[in-house]
Amino acid sequence: MIAIWYAVVSFMLIVYIVLDGRNFGAGMLQWFVAKTPEERRQVIAAIGPLWTWHEVWLLGFGGTLIAIFPRLMASAFAGYYLALFLILWCLILRGISLEVGGHINDRLWQTYWDFIFVCSNFLLAILFGAAAGNVARGVPLNADGNFSMAFFTDFNVRGHVGLLDWVHGIDCDSRRRNAGSSWRDVSHAQDRRPGARSQRKTRRSIFGSRLSRCFS
């Protein structure tokens, strides 16, 4: 019986991922495949009438999860609180941008909502991916079934990790030890030094090259 309900819940989540994944892709690629307002309108028209239908499966998944596995829902929602609220906001903003983005024939208005649309789709894909990754990696559940994770710490996968910490090869610990107890201390201390701006640029380029090496 439990296995059947597990299959039912998994089925609803899979249907949502397959259907709404198409919307995420269309939203993320909107700026790359559509150059003119007409083309952007066409991309939105491809998913505009369907996105509500796709989100029905997310609601169905959530409702079934609450009813069948309430303790899991309680633990996961408490632990992933910030990430889930960000997901909720992104879903809301995506819906608003789809519904009201074309209602005023003004270039600034449309560009603004196009920007919101693309950003919310990117964030949704990242957050859902991070959530799935954390389910596979595991979370620091205690004996009471509760856990607490930072949204991100230093993006490193070693030690005390946050939800978005998935990048190999960044050694931030040594910097912390040298300059202060946290990133804020590091940045504030370096802002006061002469030539801090150029150092920041150099550090960003090092970070970018390491990031690209991780993904290559």
Binding site: I14, I44, A45, G60, T64, L72, V135, V139, F147
Partner: protein, 118 residues
């Protein structure tokens, strides 16, 4: 190619005969590729879900703290009640699926969408 083979292997060509119901604009190779891609994603996710069962949330502190499906499930009474209301909700969701698919089937048209104008 792999997806087409996958579709052939698992006998989904019969299902594709019903494609006109949902995606009339997709015919021939396009339809097979589309359905094959979807089946590939569904297969990967379903395999992942089956592989982690019964652990639903793995604990990195101690394995015994992990939440399993058996430990976090509702009472048998709730599960029994859910077996009555869930099929009704599922039927409504499928009805909405078929209705919207048929209503907006065909090539994308800017004139036909309901999201306003540019």
């Amino acid at each position: 190619m792999v997806q087409s083979v996958l579709v052939d292997r698992i006998g989904c060509n019969r299902c594709l005969n019903y494609r006109a119901c949902f995606w009339p604009e997709l015919v021939g190779a396009n339809c097979e590729h589309f359905v094959g891609s979807n089946f590939l994603i569904v297969g990967l996710l379903a395999t992942g879900a089956a592989a982690i069962f019964p652990v639903m949330l793995h604990s990195t502190l101690a394995p015994e703290n992990s939440l399993t499906a058996y430990a976090v499930a509702s009472s048998p009474t709730t599960l029994l009640r859910a077996s009555f209301w869930w099929p009704i909700g599922f039927a409504l969701a499928v009805f909405y699926f078929v209705f919207i698919s048929r209503r907006y089937a065909g090539k994308v048209s800017v004139q036909r969408d309901t999201q306003g104008f540019y």
